[in-house]
């Protein structure tokens, strides 16, 4: 946990009058660790007011949405498995800031934040959590299986999504459309064999893929020291250049992603990013999250490195926005979440026919054998 203690952000202040709102800010970023790279992302970033407000709103939406999901889960309106993303918002928002919506992204099961940044709406996400027909996957996927355009989910079996990402990247290269694919995985999944297979293939064929390891220090309840021979995940690509970035600072993540995207688009092949981040909730809703780490640790991260607070402080202390403005955003976000929760609880569940729909792609309806020899359901997908 040393990296938390060594964090510090310095801010260069533009000269300003007291009542004037700043529209642009130059921020000095945390130093980034490099592997097989001569130079890394720039050490300063420009934050405009518009960007600041947008990031604030998106991160706040993710935070509130996850907390609402927590609440609904405890009321047993959401059931099954629910892996929450609060604490890691800067990763999703920062990555999206560095790429465009025409680029591709794939991740594992902690996917609610990415579903939002990739174009999903809170309504659809929450309805998917409750398994209703208005859900983003029509209620058939649940928490772990959410998809939007150019966002390939939402995957339950960790590690399996990374070779998939390489395939998408190959398609981008083949089609020559200057797009790339971002493949995310966690510190636990970093030990899966298929990820190393993917490193090899993507390096050999110079695929435009950004591997991102979201290192939130714990794989379920196992800390990184206990599960990995090398906790320097950004170096684990060996022959693939890597950067290690502070994942709690949305600007650090954005700049690193921009740098990585430029690297890929110039045809140099894959690059690996490790985002050092933290989740406040346990692994999933069945995990209280305090048996393998102390409450003090969670509190410490919340007070010192919370991504939303950091952005808020930055904006307020530099007159980029007033506290009332941010409060208004908070209120608007809250309302959006409430509406979405209302929708998610009242929308009807998908019809029973959907049980058999979309198993195969079929031109004509075909019969699906049912639980007993005489029950057959018709698949009309």
């Amino acid at each position: 946990m040393e990296w938390f203690k060594n964090k510090h952000i310095q801010v260069l202040e533009w000269p300003s009058q007291i009542c004037r709102v700043e529209f642009s800010l130059c921020v000095l970023l945390q130093k980034v660790d490099l592997h097989r790279l001569e130079e890394g992302p720039p050490l300063t970033a420009t934050l405009t007011r518009e960007e600041g407000l947008k990031y604030y709103r998106t991160m706040q939406t993710i935070r509130r949405m996850e907390l609402k999901a927590d609440q609904l889960y405890k009321q047993k309106i959401i059931r099954g498995f629910c892996h929450l993303y609060d604490g890691q918002e800067a990763c999703a928002v920062g990555i999206e800031g560095g790429i465009t919506l025409s680029d591709h992204l794939i991740t594992a099961y902690r996917a609610h934040g990415y579903t939002l940044t990739r174009g999903g709406t809170v309504r659809e996400i929450m309805a998917e959590l409750t398994g209703r027909r208005g859900g983003i996957a029509k209620g058939k996927g649940g928490s772990m299986h959410m998809y939007t355009k150019n966002f390939y989910g939402g995957n339950g079996i960790v590690g399996a999504q990374v070779p998939l990402g390489a395939g998408v990247a190959l398609a981008c290269k083949y089609l020559g459309n200057d797009q790339l694919c971002v493949s995310l995985y966690g510190d636990g999944a970093a030990n899966q064999g298929q990820i190393f297979e993917t490193y090899n293939m993507s390096s050999l064929w110079k695929l435009p893929i950004i591997f991102i390891c979201e290192n939130n220090q714990y794989a379920m309840g196992t800390s990184v020291e206990r599960s990995a021979a090398s906790t320097e995940y950004y170096k684990r690509g060996d022959y693939i250049p890597g950067i290690r970035v502070d994942g709690m600072d949305v600007l650090c993540v954005r700049e690193a992603t921009k740098f990585a995207a430029a690297h890929c688009r110039s045809g140099k092949g894959p690059i690996l990013m490790e985002l050092q981040t933290y989740r406040y909730h346990g692994h999933s809703m069945s995990d209280p999250g305090v048996s393998y780490r102390t409450r003090e640790e969670i509190q410490e991260v919340r007070s010192k490195s919370d991504p939303i607070s950091m952005l808020k402080d930055r904006m307020l202390s530099n007159n980029m926005a007033s506290i009332e403005e941010l409060k208004e955003i908070d209120i608007a976000v809250r309302k959006e979440i409430e509406d979405a929760a209302q929708f998610a609880t009242t929308d009807p569940e998908p019809p029973l026919d959907d049980l058999c729909s979309h198993i195969f792609a079929n031109d004509q309806p075909f019969e699906v054998r049912g639980a007993t020899p005489w029950t057959k359901l018709t698949s009309t997908s």
Partner: protein, 375 residues
Amino acid sequence: NTMFSTSLLRVGSKLIGLLLTRKGHFNTLGLRNDFGFPPGLRTKTFLLGPTTKMNLFQSVTSALDNTLASDPTAVIFGEDVAFGGVFRCTVGLRDKYGKDRVFNTPLCEQGIVGFGIGAAVAGATAIAEIQFADYIYPAFDQIVNEAAKYRYRSGNLFDCGNLTIRAPWGCVGHGSLYHSQSPEAFFAHCPGIKVVIPRGPVQCKGLLLSCIADQNPCIFFEPKILYRAAVEQVPTEAYTIPLSQAEVIQEGSDVTLVAWGTQIHVLMEVANMAQEKLGVSCELIDLQTILPWDTETVCKSVAKTGRLLISHEAPITGGFAAEISSTVQEECFLNLEAPIARVCGYDTPFPHIFEPFYIPDKWKCFDAIKKLISY
């Protein structure tokens, strides 16, 4: 040496203290409860010495405890087993036996099984845990191509018989696609390994100890919905239940019911319903070992009753019921009074929200019996 080797005798001795679970289809917690684990479900064993009330995960812990105590080469490994496991199957074992005998692996199923095979070949009694049966597929190559074929391809020079793989199995009410699967049919297609599924704590401990003792690589699937729900008085000493022997839980004369794991309890309810409402006497058989399975017991029973119903949660096409059905029609063709009925899951991925409609619950099974009787 405290290992007793004993067979299940049909002496009708009942075990005491079986706990009742919730009735009804799905209770307010949304947990599946279209079956109960009622008192009086006869589990025919000798009471071997002192017994303690244990649920399924505690019976697993007890079996592992006995193994680690009596076999100095035994090691247990898997994801998160050190603190006790996500289902508490290994609680207390690390403290008792040390961290070089009960240890965590990183997140790598293929690595876990491959490593387990190696440890077994070198002589250790390796007990690997795969966190959910749904995650076993990265290890499929290791199991099918390496573990199953080791003895055969080396002409008996080497074998990995000391390997046992344990995995939680089956639907649990809210597991959705990747925490509910029943993959026994995939492994049934592979000569060289054994696949075993218990129905309750007493069977679990006995069968697990048999798997560990067996000189072939074994896969032991534990019905996760029964981990807490099934409670019985289980002997604290070690004992084994023979593999490849099906158990006739209830004798009957009209219909043979075959299942394994959780589905046994569903069929128990169905048998009671059939008796009450239709006056049909059902013979209920727990297959216990899927591979190699006890053809004799099942065929003898079908020769007597003339009707067979097989039920499992896994999808119907290619599910293990197909194998049983095929063999029984070969052996007992002229004894059959009606086509063999299979009540299984639909041919879809295990669903998220549709689970109550997907599973072969007691109503579907009861309906099947009605059709069998009136054929």
